[in-house]
Amino acid sequence: MDVQIERVNAFCKKRKSQKKALIAILQDIQAEYKYLPQDALRAVSQNLSIPLIDVVGVATFFRAFSLKPRGEHVVTVCLGTACHVRGGPKILEEFERRLAVKPGDTTPDGKFTLESVACLGCCAIGPVVVVDGDYHAQTSIRKVESLIKQYARK
């Protein structure tokens, strides 16, 4: 991934290169590139004068960050307690089967990344699946196929 260091520098400058803004800056970078490229992390380390090991420590500690490139479409299956009780794990399994990837990985054609999340706070409409920011209420094992098809077309 070609990282434009000027973009990263701009993100840092926007927050006055303050050390306390590290997480916010990483969030900006991730929103831009869909993951945290190594070069971006090095640039942040330089801009904020934080040792690279500490930047990597923060980037790997928080689940929201990915150090691996992600696919065109990100499928997030909610595994909160309420969704678990309503069959969330079986829906994740179905996605694993149909996309042939494990949670955290991307399909070889780069189309889909499958992830799980501990809870989205939408328990009333569970089991919940979010694809590219779209919330899908009351998903079922059978809806998985059509969901994949729906986004594969985009």
Binding site: K20, I23, F61, F62, A118, C119, A124
Partner: protein, 633 residues
Amino acid sequence: MKTPAKIKTVKALEKVIQTQQRLRKADKRQVLTVSAGTCGQARGSLKVIDALNASIKKAKLQQKVKVRVTGCHGFCEAEPNIIIHPHDLFYQKVAPTHAEAIIGQTIKQKKTLPNLLYKDPVTGKTASREQAIPFYKKQQRIVLGDNALIDPTEIDDYFAVGGYGALIKALTSMTPEKVIGEVKASGLRGRGGAGFPTGVKWELARRQKDATKYIICNADEGDPGAYMDRSLLEGNPHRVLEGMMIGAYAIGATEGYIYVRDEYPLAVKHVTLAIEKLKKLGLVGTNILGAGFSFEFHIAKGAGAFVCGEETAMIASIEGRVGEPRQRPPFPAVKGLFGKPTIINNVETWGTVPLIINKGAKWFAKIGTDGSKGTKIFSLVGKINNTGLVEVPMGISLREIIYDIGGGIPGGKKFKAVQTGGPSGGCLPKSKLDLPIDYESLTKAGSIMGSGGMIVMDEKTCMVDIAKYFLNFLRDESCGKCVSCREGTQRMWEIVRDISEGKGKEGDIELLEELAQAVKDASMCGLGQTAANPVLSTLRYFKDEFEAHLKDKRCPAGVCINLIRYFVLPEKCTGCLACKKSCPTDAIQGVLKGVHIIDLAKCIKCGACLEACKFEAVETQRDEAIVIMEGAK
């Protein structure tokens, strides 16, 4: 009359509030209040809003009807729902196709549409008024209730319900000490889970002599199954902001952080908008309202770490470091964010403060029990008919919440357990249904109040699976510093996983209990100290299930994959082919109107057939008869 560009004095703000209240009263238009929080939107309320607006335009009724887009009304099961004023009508599960009828009949002709009314799933009785609906009857929605009256993106709506009146009262007629005294007298305890007396915490921070102090709003809400804070922030952000400003005034803080989970984009959006509005009006900044009180808001977003709900981990995260908790003392109230005295309170706690200032500590203390005052918002989810957010007075029983408000268990299934307190809490069985909800009784029973998640489970929920679920969550979310938590949760999970897979050995339960006690005792922060609760409570009340998995290699609830087999009950099968069509491995044989049979050799136990069957003919219990395919029929 438009709200002035900048509100510079107390009198000016009072005038604005009075004006908005007057305008709201004088507005004789009919109002369609549509709930559009995250859940509502996921169920299509934005489309409903568009359809309503289109119908209103078509009927040329813009002068007579207004659509107010609000946050969550609490009754999530009924989303999208509309409350119509002044009829006091409650319509549930509204679709865009209903818009024409709503405008044509209800608005124009005052005719109620019976198909949109709430219908009790058991008795079939309908209810047209919100207060007549069983879900709402026993609630006391003093904190969440205003959600239905406010468009969260319009500060004028908040003024119209008297918003920021409490701030005025505090700034003009109360000293900081008096504010703290009032909060102390109210008996308000932290709503984030620990239940520490709020006023006492504030007093400790007040006593510190630092010129710089901070307040933080904990909107990390990491407990899976809990979303009260999301609802309050999305639907009434100003209520929380007002509470924070009152708190800041009380302890002497000049800056406040709102730490919101990354997973709540709409809440972040609405809070950001609300703060911008306050900035524009000059209600945050230096010398607010000329009362000598200066204050600034900042928003910090979480990045997917449950442990950051812990005070010191949250502080570390705001400082740009990993969310690793640290030993206390020193407590954050003495030495917190950037080394300064810091008060961290939960969203619900902040949202309750303006009420206490407005209506007085005595009023608040009348609600609830001796040790637990006021109301608490719970997210009632899982295997329950009336899913939603309920706000009830402390002291109400679990039974009343689950059956009277919640409408009981769907599908005619039996209640098995209710889980409270998230991963720090425990599962309470049927024998505890009459327990009053308060901090002490829940702790004594082996659970905790927690942030308010209340997950109901039925006979088809396996308690070993639930224990495994929570341990899996905790081993992922542990920060990893303490051996007891990092290794302890991992090893506890391994033991329970083995038990759930039928690989449990003699002595496993004893080892589990010994390990759980060590994790509880030796861990440094709340996550580790309470990590053993889910396991200990399920062992306490459901030991027989653990023993069934361990000794008999049986899963009574029919959940644990290694110990169950999928099969069709011949007496219930109608031969509809639904399960056969759903099977991804073609493991089901059957013809139309003939009994279907599952070939266990091909079955991968995905559960698609169980989901597809509308006649409850697919079962997973091990002790029932197993039919193996031997030539198609």
